[in-house]
Amino acid sequence: MLQSKIRQRRMAVAFILLIERGDDGSSQIGAEKNDKPEEHAMALLDRSEWYDLARSTNWTPTFVTDEDLFPDVMTGAQGVPAEKWEVYDEPYKTSFPEYVSIQREKDAGAYSVKAALQRSRIFDDADPGWRSILKSHYGAIALGEYAAMSAEARMARFGRAPGMRNMATFGMMDENRHAQLQLFFPHEYCPKDRQFDWGHKAYHTNEWAAIAARHAFDDLFMARSATDIAVMLTFAFETGFTNMQFLGLAADAAEAGDYTFSSLISSIQTDESRHAQIGGPALQVLIANGRKAEAQKLVDVAIGRAWRIFCILTGPSMDYNTPLAHRKQSFKEFMQEWIVGQFERALIDLGLDLPWYWDKMIAEFDYQHHAYQMGLWFWRPTLWWNPAAGVTPDCRDWLEEKYPGWNDTFGKAWDVIIDNLAAGHPERTFPQTLPIVCNMSQIPICAVPGNRWNVKDYPLDYEGRLYHFNSEIDRWIFEQEPQRYRGHMTVVDRFLAGQIQPADLSGALAYMGLQPGESGDDAHGYAWVEAYRNRRMAAE
């Protein structure tokens, strides 16, 4: 108690010092210091000299109990007492004045392209496949950033360690910035193409991919405790998978000449790179206090769920929608670089183990996103973007080189589609039946077609209801907390329950909020089929 009062007084002194210095956040304190070090040396303390003190915001509550103030259900501290969290030390620190100054610089860079964007011909000149990447990205991500902002706010309030609360306050503002940026840019494109309206609209609909994204983000960000969020959102999701979409895809964007998008998403990732460091020390506290198994489970659930989302979003973007000439690496190569070589290595360093399903997930690198791509293109009327098929003869050579055996599996299924299109029967390339949708990922169950057919349902009977899963990983996640997931209905469950009327494609599109002019179709208007038609005519 006495210690708390002394701390409070010291803090008050520290804050007064800051106020007297006029650190309103906009001043270039460091720059001044560097420009005229001898003049300002007395006026400025280094951050390290006051940070620990200013961060010490724990106190002894007197009006309510500590348990009421920080209930375990909200903190997720798993019974690890407050004093054990005192050792939490965030490795990537910043102060409010530094934060404001640096973020201002970042935003100046990101928004400076506004005028350029309006003059730019990149939108008109870009390959339609590239425009589809932008549409799928903004729709799937922009409002997910708001979900992440709520999650950061929960850590800012219920984080058990003062350092976690401090960094999460910045993280909360970061995520707000990301949502604003990624709504601003698609909005600029709306007058040219109404599908960009889905940058904002997607999460407000029951479009199936939006349901899949919402289901995952609600699970990992919105409906979790502060500690769970630190582990699942900041550690697993942000030090791991966001690098794929925000840096890996930026490499393709730069190759495609879309420097606006490349700069925008990589700027966002600089925020992530800082606030993602909230998770590491939280994991260390959990492990040091005998909660390794619980921490490992959180990480394994988060990686499993994140993998599905990025597999369907980033995988087809990189290997099909990005024009062939602009592909920096294959999706699998980016996964090797960012997830295997970097993220999993960091996980081992913190004292965790590889997920139990590691080898199964690695095996999926070779096929799962190819299967998702077929589904996306096949069910294209149900998308808010126009997927590129990405299977011209040249593209197929590239796919075969990067994924040996592609022609013998996925290629055979595409051959049927190509035959129908070349013969003038596009109506045969639209879905007539419903897929079986995974009760975890909310994405149709699929795997390898053709000569290596391995498509399989992983069912589970729970409390009299039969659930279907895409893999052992998805089923395992459900089994960890079935009461959490049991009530949710996939879009196909809703269809079969009679909630979608009329029970046909028109009813489904209306249910998903897809208006005429928004519903997806082949990105290139099937022009790519011409190459096959010519080949066949030449052969005849």
Binding site: P91, T94, Q336
Partner: protein
Amino acid sequence: MTTGTVADGYRNNRVGPILRAGPLTAGIIEAAEEDNPGKTIRVDDKIAYVRIDTEGEMILRRTTLERTLGRAFRMQELEVSLGSFAGRIEMTEDMVRFYYEKTL
């Protein structure tokens, strides 16, 4: 490449910054060479980002960066370019350190 060799890709000790395309890159590479004597600094340029890494530990000092960039530099400014990093991080006003505690 077989599933086994891909799965073992985490067995490495490479640490260092991954920088967005920007004006700091050349100065940071030079500082990495200078502040980590005897170490091989690997640079992988993907245009949108540049991966700069070395084995086990990499240090970048503010004073070195001020010299290689030819201007005053606050360590926190690194954040504008720091899209990601391999390894753990320790950031002070005078230096940033990327490292792993365990050697695989």
